[in-house]
C-alpha cells in the first residue's frame, strides 16, 4: 500500500466513523461531515451539468456540426434562472412547462400502455387445472393472483361503502395487502442491513489492513 492509498483510506474511515458517532449522540464531527456532504453533492451537479449537458449536448454540436438551433433550448434553460427575480419570475414557467408537458405526454401513454394494459392482461390466468402444468397447485397460484389483484383494486375503490360483498372482498384485500407489506418489510430490513455490511466490510478489510500495514 502506498502512502497515498493509506491517506485515502484513513480519510474515508474518518468520515465513516464521524457519521456513525451520531448514534452515540449529536456532535460537532457529525455536523461538520454533514455540511461537507451537502456542499460536495451540490458541487458535483455543477461539474456534471457543465460537461454532460452544456458542453457535450449543446456547445460542442453547435460548433462542430453547426447545429446552431441548439441555442434555443440553451436560452430556455437559462430562462429558468429568472425564478430568482421577483418581477420576471413567471418567465421561468415557460421552460418548466416545456419539460413538464413533455414528461406528461410520455407518461400519459407509457403508464396506460406500458403498465395498465400488460398488467391487466397478465392477470387473466386460467383457473382450469387442465391448462396448468402442475394441475391444482397451479390453479391455487392463479386463484391467489386473480383474487389478490381484484381485491386490492377493490380495497382502493372509494365510490361505494365497503359493505356486503364489496366489504368482504375489501377485507380479503386488506389481508393480502398486509402480507405483501410484510414481504416488503422483510426486504427493506435486508436492504438496510446490507448497507451497514458494506461499511463494515470497508472498515474491517480496507481500514483494518491499512492499520496492519502501518503498525506491523
Amino acid at each position: 500500500m502506498s502512502w497515498v492509498e493509506i491517506v485515502q483510506i484513513w480519510l474515508v474511515a474518518f468520515v465513516t466513523l464521524s457519521l456513525f458517532s451520531f448514534l452515540y449522540k449529536d456532535n460537532p464531527f457529525y455536523r461538520l461531515v454533514e455540511h461537507i456532504f451537502a456542499g460536495l453533492s451540490a458541487g458535483y451537479y455543477v461539474g456534471l451539468i457543465y460537461h454532460s449537458v452544456i458542453l457535450q449536448t449543446m456547445i460542442d454540436p453547435m460548433f462542430r456540426n453547426g447545429e446552431w438551433w441548439l441555442i434555443f433550448p440553451g436560452i430556455l434553460g437559462a430562462l429558468m434562472f429568472s425564478r430568482f427575480s421577483k418581477n420576471y419570475g413567471w418567465i421561468s414557467r415557460i421552460s418548466l412547462a416545456f419539460v413538464m408537458g413533455n414528461t406528461a405526454g410520455i407518461f400519459l401513454l407509457s403508464e396506460l400502455h406500458g403498465k395498465v394494459l400488460p398488467q391487466v392482461g397478465a392477470t387473466m390466468r386460467s383457473l382450469n387445472p387442465q391448462h396448468q402444468a402442475d394441475g391444482w397447485t397451479g390453479v391455487l397460484l392463479s386463484l391467489l393472483i386473480v383474487v389478490g389483484v381484484v381485491s386490492t383494486l377493490i380495497y382502493f375503490y372509494f365510490s361505494k361503502e365497503h359493505k356486503g360483498v364489496l366489504g368482504g372482498v375489501a377485507k380479503v384485500g386488506i389481508w393480502f395487502i398486509m402480507i405483501s407489506f410484510g414481504a416488503h418489510f422483510g426486504y427493506t430490513v435486508m436492504a438496510r442491513i446490507s448497507l451497514l455490511i458494506g461499511r463494515v466490510q470497508f472498515l474491517i478489510f480496507d481500514f483494518g489492513n491499512s492499520i496492519k500495514e502501518l503498525f506491523g
Binding site: L40, I49, H51, G101, G105, G198
Partner: protein
C-alpha cells in the same frame, strides 16, 4: 399571458409525444420532431438541476453573511461546493487534475468523500430499524400481526442461514415462500397497486397536458 403561454407550451410539447407514439417515426416528420424535442428537454432539464445548486448556494451565503446560528457550518458547505465545482469546470487540457476525468480532483472528492458519506448515512438506518423492531413494531391488531408474520418468514427465507432452517422444517418450504408469498400474494397486491398508481399518474399527466393542473407553475 403569464399562465396561458406556459400552458400552451406544455400542451404542444406533450402532444408531440402523444402523436409520435401512434406513428412510425421513419415515415413522417413526427419522428424527427420527437427526437429534437427530446434532446431539447434533456438540455433544459439540466438547467433545472443547476437551479437547485444556485438556491442552496444562496441560502447558505445569506446565512453566513447575516451570521445566523451555526454559520460556520454553512461556510463549510459553501467552501465544499466551490471545491467541487471550480476544478471541475477548468478544462482538463491544462492538467488531468481538472475536469471530471478519472484522475481529477472532482473524481477524487466524490470517490473518497461524497460516496462514503452517502453510503454511511444510509447504513445508519440499520441501527434504527433494529431498535424500532424491538420497541415499536407491535402485533396490535390482525393486520399488523399478518404483516409481522409475513415479514418474519421473508426475513428468514432471504438469508442462507434462515433458508436452511426453513428447509429443515419442510424441504419445500423455502420454494413455497417464493412461489406463493412473493410470486403469488405479494405479486398480486403489487400489481393492484401498480395499476392504481399508473391510473393516478396518467390522470395527473392528462391534467398537466390540458393545463387544468397548474400547481407546478406555482399556482
Amino acid at each position: 399571458m403569464r399562465t396561458i403561454v406556459p400552458v400552451i407550451i406544455a400542451f404542444l410539447s406533450g402532444m408531440v409525444m402523444i402523436l409520435a407514439f401512434f406513428f412510425d417515426p421513419e415515415k413522417s416528420i413526427l419522428g424527427e420532431l420527437e427526437q429534437n424535442v427530446l434532446s431539447w428537454v434533456t438540455i433544459v432539464g439540466g438547467f433545472t438541476l443547476l437551479l437547485g445548486v444556485v438556491s442552496i448556494f444562496r441560502v447558505n451565503l445569506i446565512a453566513v453573511k447575516r451570521r445566523h446560528d451555526g454559520w460556520g457550518y454553512k461556510l463549510v458547505t459553501l467552501i465544499s461546493i466551490l471545491a467541487m465545482a471550480i476544478p471541475a469546470i477548468i478544462p482538463s487540457k491544462l492538467s488531468p487534475l481538472f475536469g471530471t476525468g478519472t484522475d481529477s480532483i472532482y473524481d477524487w472528492l466524490f470517490n473518497y468523500l461524497d460516496a462514503p458519506m452517502m453510503a454511511t448515512m444510509f447504513a445508519m438506518l440499520a441501527f434504527y430499524i433494529s431498535s424500532a423492531a424491538f420497541r415499536a413494531f407491535r402485533a396490535r391488531n390482525t393486520e399488523a400481526t399478518l404483516l409481522l408474520i409475513a415479514a418474519t418468514l421473508v426475513m428468514l427465507w432471504r438469508v442462507p442461514m434462515g433458508e436452511i432452517a426453513l428447509a429443515y422444517i419442510h424441504p419445500d418450504l423455502p420454494q413455497a415462500i417464493n412461489t406463493y408469498i412473493m410470486g403469488g400474494i405479494n405479486m398480486a397486491v403489487q400489481r393492484g397497486i401498480i395499476i392504481g398508481a399508473a391510473l393516478g399518474a396518467a390522470a395527473m399527466s392528462l391534467r398537466i397536458l390540458l393545463g387544468i393542473e397548474r400547481t407546478y407553475l406555482g399556482k
